[in-house]
Symmetry: C2
Subunit: 351 residues, 2 copies
């Protein structure tokens, strides 16, 4: 390990002035291509990590980041994302960071537009947004791009848009995995399985869920074309009536033994199965909501697929800090893990 | 978010001197219980994170950590652990850290003792060790404890020993999960499955592997008592002859359709299956060695169970830094995740 490296050592080795090294280190302009290359070579050779914190602390600049997320209750998928955002806000507190949260109704496209206006009115230094349907998201992201405000998609990506970054699952692959484990549980000879949805006036409320189902259906077409895929749309905005709809469904389809939900509310079905004492139904769901995990432990959900929402929230704010504050280059696409959880490994899942 | 907090603000709020706050912040003695409590209360209320780095950088103290690991080739489980150790060494380079690696032959208890002596002779500030059989590990850890040198177990824990910490999988639960997915693949009515082992002169070479098999057998006894568990011990130190042993095994047991390895060499069986064009055998293994992952993608391994070895290596060095350098309290047991990977989610697994 080398001793302490001083900026003047780097300047001497790269044959440039101390001021040039300082400008390269802090991502400022006014450096010739040749000098920059020489400095960067020396930095790389020395594996030099400057104390960026110190210079940012000295600058006293304030930063405002806004997050636009779907409305949600406590203990839902988005509450975990918020915890991660809060973690990052603490971790980067030294950067004089303010993070403000805004919400929209995921089942009402109009609501997204209104909340987006309120975000824009803050003239933030960066935005994290969970996009709604692409056609309703575009006006907002066009506006942000026109103002030079970087934005990050969380949960689902809208390809082709000039976002700084995306954090979320590869929904297509995730749907394939759901199909594979469902058919392991069902047995390759199963004749029918069911997809449980949550909808409000025809709106699924999440691109991620729709794309997972596309991946699921492609896998089923390829590997189990003989298996019928039944559907049951439950109510998105309330649970009243779900029990009756499930009663009716199972009365009409007594032979179906396996099903999947692509939203985070598998517990609606899991708790129903427990209440009915209906054992042996194989249920696969998403996300580690407390009620889902309770069902997993109780055995009414067999597999949960998760994606570290807390880390997702954290990484979005971290990436804005990296780009906006630290002037680092960031990657456009960050696929989150597709984690497969059972009652055996749930206790060791990092959260 | 509060403004910048100065040490003299904390001193005033806790009604102690600036020197007392400084002593509490840096974990030094000479502070009354009452003053310490008052300072800690204020720190907690303010959510204060002092710039510990600055004071450590100023001290110029050097630290030596030694790691004692099993000998291994390139692209093996322990190479990933080493990458993590290297990552941490870079991340904590500011602490004037030297990390030295030592190796022992996991199939030779004598070798462990020799390497342990060489570690002790360095009089390190902290040790990370992958313990061999408990009776052969004890002399070394007793010696470290007597010298006041903190040590961390990696991979497998030896309970009751005064280690600073442990990083590794809960092997029992991991074995249960292996049994569950194996029987999903095999079908509940399967009559026999096989456990493939790697041994040298009767020595398995890893506590972790032995304990996984215990968990596996307990699960099988409870849920599938009718299923026979066959065994095949392959050679630990070379692959020559494995093919013949596998040929003989499958000739003797033509009906067995599912098997598991508890070591990281599932690829020995997976590649054999591919060479033989033997399709439809359900193989479950451990760890993301390149050859294992190739088999997973090719379909000759169905599930791999992983545990983030790189993070494990990183966290061991980080924990020594936390305890030895930063004087923080650390947890005794850190179970690593039990990650379940298939060809669908392998690409998104963080490494």
């Amino acid at each position: 390990m080398t001793g302490k490296i001083r900026i003047k050592d780097i300047a001497r080795m790269a044959d440039v002035s101390v001021g040039t090294v300082d400008r390269v280190l802090h991502g400022r302009g006014g450096v010739s291509t040749d000098s920059r290359r020489r400095v960067e070579e020396v930095l790389q050779r020395l594996d030099y990590h400057p104390n960026v914190y110190a210079s940012i602390l000295a600058s006293n600049r304030q930063y405002l980041f806004c997050c636009l997320l779907p409305q949600h209750g406590a203990d839902e998928y988005w509450s975990e994302v918020e915890l991660g955002i809060h973690d990052a806000r603490q971790a980067y507190a030294d950067f004089n960071l303010t993070v403000t949260l805004f919400y929209y109704d995921p089942y009402d496209y109009h609501s997204f537009g209104q909340a987006a206006c309120r975000v824009a009115a803050c003239v933030p230094d960066g935005v994290v947004l969970a996009p709604t349907a692409p056609q309703h998201t575009k006006a907002f992201t066009d506006g942000l791009a026109a103002c030079g405000i970087p934005f990050i998609y969380i949960d689902s990506d809208i390809k082709g848009e000039p976002a700084l970054s995306f954090f979320g699952q590869n929904s297509h692959r995730s749907g394939c995995l759901a199909a594979r484990v469902l058919m392991l549980l069902a047995g390759a000879e199963a004749e029918e399985v069911v997809v449980f949805r949550k909808k409000n006036e025809g709106i699924v409320g999440s691109n991620q869920q729709e794309h997972r189902e596309v991946g699921f259906r492609e896998y089923m077409d390829r590997h189990h074309p003989q298996c019928r895929i039944l559907e049951l749309d439950l109510q998105a905005k309330h649970e009243a009536g779900d029990g009756q709809m499930l009663d009716d469904f199972f009365a009409r389809h007594p032979g179906v033994g396996s099903g999947v939900t692509f939203n985070s509310k598998a517990y609606v079905v899991g708790e129903y199965l427990q209440r009915q004492g209906r054992r042996g139904f194989n249920l696969v769901g998403y996300d580690l909501l407390r009620r889902n995990v309770d069902c997993l432990r109780a055995g009414s959900i067999c597999f949960l697929i998760a994606q570290q929402p807390r880390l997702q929230g954290y990484d979005c704010i971290k990436t804005l800090c990296d780009s906006v504050v630290l002037k680092r280059t960031v990657e456009r696409v960050h696929y989150m893990p597709i984690d497969l959880l059972t009652k055996e490994n749930i206790d060791f899942y990092p959260r």
